[in-house]
């Protein structure tokens, strides 16, 4: 965005624009010749994939909004009208519904890649933090979007989630009433959620712009986790990575299309095809799959925390769960400082690698129990001690936080890294020699 030295373009029209606003120079610099490490693996496709999904969600979402009615008496019918009577309305809606899931899949893999290869470490801390902020905004947007069809899960999901706020003493209830616009989830809730569901994606676009801007200041990390040192280490972004991204994006779109066209409701819940009914609570309220690990953390806290030997409760189990759930996202903002080991890539940190893969397993297990009712007996330890889903959630939650707050700081000080190649070029040659 700086008005640095500019090479004139041959095309007169392009030059006319560029001399007044150097858009073409910027594109050339940031996406044409932009020096990019040459050793990326396919995990580096997921930034571009997430971007494609964001655009897909915006376009389908805007067109759905043209046909949707945000009124508790009409929302469900308007969605069914989209499905049955709007030309290709079913396509728009299924793309949007499944698009949310595939956006989260892309972003989860993108985040895993960032963690595995230490992309959050200096000088990319701010880049990582913008990423966590995007994730947080996505969660808010997805949650409010799920309320809009006004089905049973929409209604009861909204009721359960906004109920979290009542866990905070004194201020909790007023905050909850202010958020939902009344004493229970109703038309005012639906209206404001629709307004925010339309607004937040554009906030996401703005934070994505900052995320990409920060990326283009520091340059990309790479699987070796060492900075490019010479021209041998990098390639221009175009055509090398534009083509590799095009391939990766297309493969991802095949998986997405399989869901959209052949199993469009596999990731949703059947209850959401029943109109919201405040008088009938579904037997088992579950959020969308991408929230399940956090839902499991929320439900993992089952005891009140108080001052020992007194009757005074400091933190109720409900508040404890809410704090842990918010904490599980907040802690990610501090990742660059919790892991201060000088070596970035897990390739050269065997202990960190094991701890991180166990973390992935913990999150998947949390997701699994998050989708099951609490306190489901799994097996007997002794005659009367029964191991339940809640115990699994507690172990998973414990590891989640121990990973961030104990293992990472300890490994930062103690782990001895494996010998590393001196440059990216050498890392690439070393691999082809084997």
């Amino acid at each position: 965005m700086s008005a640095g030295p500019r090479t004139p373009f041959e095309n007169k029209f392009v030059e006319w624009i560029d001399s007044r606003l150097p858009l073409f120079t910027m594109m050339q610099k940031e996406y044409g010749v932009f020096p990019t490490p040459k050793n990326f693996n396919y995990f580096w496709n997921f930034g571009a994939i997430a971007m494609v999904m964001l655009v897909t969600m915006l376009l389908t979402g805007i067109m759905l909004a043209m046909n949707y009615t945000a009124n508790s008496g009409m929302a469900f019918d308007s969605v069914e009208r989209i499905m049955r009577d709007v030309n290709y309305g079913w396509l728009l809606r299924y793309m949007h519904m499944n698009g949310a899931s595939f956006f989260f899949i892309a972003v989860y893999i993108h985040m895993f890649r960032g963690m595995y290869y230490g992309s959050y470490k200096a000088p990319r801390e701010l880049l990582w933090m913008f990423g966590v902020l995007i994730f947080l905004l996505m969660m808010a947007t997805a949650f409010m979007g799920y309320v809009l069809p006004w089905g049973q899960m929409s209604y009861w999901g909204a009721t359960v989630i906004t109920n979290f706020f009542t866990a905070f003493p004194w201020i909790g209830e007023p905050i909850q009433q202010w958020l939902i616009g009344g004493f229970s989830v109703d038309n005012p809730t639906l209206n404001r959620f629709f307004a925010l569901h339309y607004l937040l994606p554009f906030v996401i676009v703005a934070v994505v712009a900052l995320h990409v801007w920060a990326l283009h200041v520091t340059g990309s990390n790479n699987p070796a986790g060492i900075e490019p040192k010479s021209k041998d280490d990098t390639l221009p972004f175009h055509p090398y990575y534009t083509m590799k991204d095009s391939f990766g994006v297309t493969v991802f779109l095949v998986l997405y299309a399989i869901y959209v066209f052949f199993m469009p409701n596999a990731l949703g819940h059947p209850d959401n095809y029943t109109l919201a009914n405040p008088m009938v609570t579904p037997p088992h309220i579950v959020p969308e799959w991408y929230f399940l690990p956090f839902y499991a953390i929320l439900r993992a806290v089952t005891i009140d925390i108080g001052i020992p030997f007194t009757e005074i409760t400091l933190i109720t189990a409900k508040l404890g769960g809410v704090l842990l759930m918010f904490g599980s996202i907040i802690v990610m903002f501090f990742l660059p400082w919790l892991d201060s080991h000088p070596v970035r890539s897990a390739k050269y940190r065997p202990k960190f690698r094991v701890a991180l893969l166990l973390f992935v397993v913990a999150v998947l297990v949390l997701g699994k129990v998050g989708g099951m009712p609490a306190d489901v007996p799994l097996f007997h330890i002794t005659e009367d001690m029964i191991f339940t889903t809640t115990h699994v959630a507690q172990i998973g939650t414990a590891y989640y936080f121990i990973f961030f707050l104990v293992i990472l700081p300890i490994l930062s000080r103690t782990e001895k890294a494996l010998p590393m190649p001196s440059s990216i070029h050498e890392a690439v040659l070393g691999k082809s020699a084997h």
């Binding site: 049955r84 090398y240 066209f261 095809y273 029943t274 037997p283 799959w289 399940l292």
Partner: protein
């Protein structure tokens, strides 16, 4: 080794939503039958003869209590009926319209643009007539229950004698596939109750199969178009991915 590990993790991550959604169905504790229905699977299409028989079963049996308010008569063209046949079907119904110029509501003959009239004026009336239970609207029933058409078939054929440990009150029936195994709907189908003209067996199983097919269509009328478009999209994407892979390989072949 590292690569295998990474691949294993990414496969896990990619497949986790599948694993999570594969939850146990909340039915009556009996496994749902895997009914042989023509529209299952990626290549499946609706059997038009079965759809027409299913419509007959719906109109003669289910429609006494269950509405189908999201389906219009004009939609029946998907069942293979022509315009005149649809007009004939819709004209058998009476629809309330109005108000007219005098401000009065009036009854008139149904038109193809009308939706199926509901058997009861409102939910309260439906509950009053059905011992307090609300017969659900059937327009979305196969999407609103896990198991879909198999569930509908399962409930329709799942009436049985209650085991000794289950208490069944007056006006209730034991059903192997209903949540909680108790249902207020009396067994709706009996052999020979609906007269098929095409020689199909007039059995409970056949009725259940046909009406499940019809209700699956009512819930997902776009299914055939969706699958057809899906094949075109996926074939295009695969070809494009192949092309991109070739281009990428050629460009990268000079890099060491």
């Amino acid at each position: 080794m590292k690569k295998t590990l990474l691949t294993a993790v990414s496969v896990l991550v990619l497949s986790s939503p599948l694993a999570i959604t594969a939850q146990a169905s909340e039915g009556g504790g009996h496994p749902l039958p895997d009914v042989d229905l023509t529209f299952k699977g990626p290549f499946g299409t609706y059997d038009k003869a079965s759809l027409q028989r299913g419509l007959l079963v719906y109109r003669q049996v289910c429609a006494n209590c269950h509405s189908l308010k999201r389906v219009a008569f004009r939609n029946l063209s998907a069942l293979g009926y022509n315009e005149d046949q649809i007009k004939a079907i819709s004209s058998e119904y009476t629809v309330q319209d109005g108000p007219n110029d005098d401000g009065e509501m009036f009854d008139r003959e149904g038109r193809p643009s009308d939706r199926f009239p509901s058997p009861f004026a409102n939910d309260k009336a439906a509950m009053a007539a059905n011992g307090g239970a609300l017969p659900p609207d059937l327009s979305l029933i196969t999407k609103a229950r896990s198991g879909g058409a198999d569930y509908v078939f399962g409930v329709l054929t799942g009436y049985a004698k209650a085991p000794a440990d289950v208490t069944i009150l007056d006006g209730q029936f034991y059903n192997t596939h209903m949540t909680g195994n108790v249902i207020k709907m009396p067994p709706p189908l009996s052999a020979g109750a609906v007269d098929y003209e095409d020689g199909s067996p007039k059995s409970v199983e056949q009725y259940a199969k046909d009406v499940s097919t019809f209700l699956a269509w009512a819930a997902e009328p776009e299914m055939e178009q969706r699958k057809q478009m899906g094949f075109k999209v996926i074939i295009f994407l695969l070809a494009f991915a192949g092309l991109m892979y070739g281009v990428k390989r050629q460009i990268w072949s000079k890099v060491h």
